[in-house]
Amino acid sequence: MSNRSETLIRIVDLHKSYYDGESELRVLQGIDLEIKTSELLAVIGASGVGKSTLLHIMGTLDRPTAGQVLYGDQDVFTMPEAELARFRNQEVGFVFQFHHLLPEFNALENVAMAALITTPSNKAIYKEAAALLEYVGLAERLSHYPSQLSGGERQRVAIARALINKPKVVLADEPTGNLDRRSSEAVHELLWDLNAKSGQTFVIVTHNSELAEQVDRVVKLADGKVVL
């Protein structure tokens, strides 16, 4: 397990604005944030304050208007597009509020997907995917399609999918926002367990105060800035 004090992600003076014609909507206005390896971090804040935007930029899905996101010493936005996609594939796992599973593929294929992008299909990938699904408690559901799974099950498949390439960081955008209490708790426990076992870093955007109480550190956003 790597050292907890090591900085994994450094966000430097991050700005993000959206433009709609003349008007400028400034969402992020100078975010500075350091995230350490194996940290379990919750990002909270009012709706529309830019939590998701921050998460997207951290995950290289979106580009900042100004500022840097450094993984180690690497400013990720200086990478060319193809390299950035490869980086996302290898180093970042995403879990969204909505599962975003591909409906044409069964649970096993969905989990294997990220690995299949870079590696030709082989048994090892599917074995790994099956092991992950077993770990999230879906050993019996490998060949089920998303439409045949419950909300909690889908979200667990989505978590397994985020882990297939053993990313350094898992970014979760309100992973239990759409689940009932029991399913939420199951997902939470899964996340804690994962964090404890794998030492992966988790950044979780949430409204859930219960969840926020159980993490290593809480970051609160207000007016486009970190306030806590």
Binding site: H56, G59, L61, D62, E81, A82, A85, R86, F87, R88, N89, Q90, V92, F94, F96, H100, L101, L102, P103, E104, F105, M113, A114, L116, I117, T118, P120, S121, Y145, S147, R161, N165
Partner: protein, 484 residues
């Protein structure tokens, strides 16, 4: 590439029950297939017509016709023929007195028709145009029994026998043994007015080459008779030449002109090739073919629009999935390739099916086999349809994994049923056999063209995939994710 194939093939099949994309894939494939099939079929028929015409035309037409520009007579033709026949690739040459004359039927004093007359030496003409193979009746112009009989009955001078084109004879109502009066020329007998110089000919046979142009416009008489009538002893105005290969005509025509060696006084020689003689017909066919190719290319283009719109719809439907794939680390290139593969598969399948369809319709049109009886069709089709119905039910109940396979089987089944229902198309049934003078639509498959059309179709379809794929690749991941 494996990853892109994995996704694209699943999108083509589309397992989701509520999805209609797989049906759209089938429709797109059908669009391309129909386009390609029509092109192959139409071009095969056009080629067939041209080839058939050429074939029939060349079998009884000289490849090169040598004459002097003003059609005047020239002497020493046998010597000239010997020199021409010495040219490489020349099979034979035949002297001809060629003229246009008026016809008076029996018991009539008005001109009924104007026909072409070829005064020929039957033996020499046979070598060039296969003359006697098309004649029913006698080819002995001078000594036919019919001539003597007619001369005896009418008590008139008979110049000789004439062989009439079959349709011309029908038009003139001329039977074998009838006497035809031909207007050879008008003579000034010194009174200031012109008197017709007439000659009587006895119909001794009919010429039936199945070439409309000859059968309804030509009459044949002996060369000696013709020379006498025109007062051109030992002279002719045409030499017809047959070559080993009709396509060589343009090159050899000039050699023939040289070999004929006309003096300046005789006039300018002209060796007319069959291509020049029939230029109007064949250039019309050529033009028709070019126009057809353009129209057919447009048809394929339309089909390719079909592919493009299918892909654009797929992209729209899969926008969210594209977003997801991007978060999983698929690059723009990956996304682009997914949709290009999808489109290319549609294009390739469509082209292949179309080629198969086109070629089999060609085969169907050119084959002479009879339609199988209805009982036979029933015995074959009914079990197949029942089987498919059962399979389809099973497929629809099962989770749709078999749907694609059943769809393909259905296509084959329906195709087979159609095949059984369609009789090899006969021109007799269509009432066209009179025009084409054949019972079967002439079909000639030009394989180079088939390959060309295949390539063209592939390329057009491939281009059709570019825009939708590019569109998918440029979706912004975050926006795509939030797309509903």
């Amino acid at each position: 590439m494996k990853f892109e194939w994995f996704i694209a093939s699943r999108y083509l099949r589309s397992r989701r029950k509520q999805s209609f994309i797989s049906i759209i894939s089938i429709i797109s494939i059908g669009g391309v297939a129909l386009g390609v099939a029509t092109v192959i079929l139409v071009i095969a028929v056009l080629d067939g017509v041209e080839h058939g015409l050429k074939d029939r035309f060349l079998s009884n037409e000289a490849h090169v016709a040598l004459h002097i520009f003003d059609h005047s007579f020239f002497k020493d033709y046998q010597e000239r023929i010997q020199r021409i026949e010495a040219i490489e690739n020349v099979v034979a040459a035949s002297p001809v007195v060629f003229a246009q004359i008026g016809v008076f039927p029996e018991h009539s004093n008005t001109i009924q028709d104007v026909i072409y007359i070829k005064g020929i030496d039957p033996a020499q003409e046979d070598e060039v145009t296969g003359f006697s193979t098309y004649v029913t009746g006698s080819t002995d112009f001078q000594n036919s029994e019919l001539i003597e009989k007619a001369a005896f009955i009418r008590d008139e001078t008979i110049a000789g026998g004439i062989i009439l084109g079959g349709r011309l004879a029908t038009r003139l109502g001329a039977m074998k043994g009838d006497v035809l009066r031909l207007l050879i020329k008008l003579v000034d007998i010194g009174t200031g007015s012109l008197t017709p110089d007439l000659a009587n000919f006895v119909v001794i046979g009919f010429y039936e080459s199945e070439m409309e142009a000859y059968d309804s416009n030509f009459g044949f008489i002996h060369i000696d008779t013709a020379q006498k009538l025109y007062n051109q002893q030992n002279r002719v105005n045409f030499i017809f030449v047959r070559l080993t290969d009709a396509e060589l005509a343009p090159q050899i025509a000039t050699k023939i002109e040289d070999a004929a060696d006309f003096s300046v006084l005789e006039g300018m020689p002209n060796a007319r090739t069959w291509m020049e003689a029939q230029a109007a017909l064949f250039s019309a066919l050529q033009l028709e073919k070019i126009a057809t190719v353009i129209i057919e290319a447009l048809i394929i283009l339309v089909a390719s629009f079909n592919i493009a719109s299918t892909l654009i719809m797929t992209v729209m439907e899969k926008t969210k999935d594209v977003g997801t794939l991007r978060t999983l680390g698929a690059s723009r290139g990956n996304i682009m390739r997914i949709f290009m593969i999808q489109g290319s598969v549609i294009g390739t399948l469509g082209t292949m099916i179309g080629t198969g369809l086109g070629l089999s319709i060609c085969w169907l049109l050119s084959t002479n086999t009879e339609r199988p009886s209805y009982w036979y069709i029933l015995a074959l089709v009914v079990p197949i349809v029942l089987q498919f119905l059962m399979a389809s039910r099973h497929a629809l109940r099962s989770k749709g994994g078999w749907k694609f396979a059943v769809g393909v089987l259905w296509l084959i089944g329906v195709g087979f049923a159609l095949y059984c229902a369609v009789r090899p198309i006969s021109l007799v049934d269509l009432g066209l056999s009179q025009i084409y003078q054949t019972h079967q639509l002439p079909i000639k498959i030009n394989w180079v063209f088939v390959i060309f059309i295949n390539l063209l179709s592939f390329v057009i379809c491939w281009f059709a995939t570019l825009y939708p794929a590019w569109q998918a690749a440029n979706l912004k991941p975050v926006e795509a994710l939030q797309h509903e």
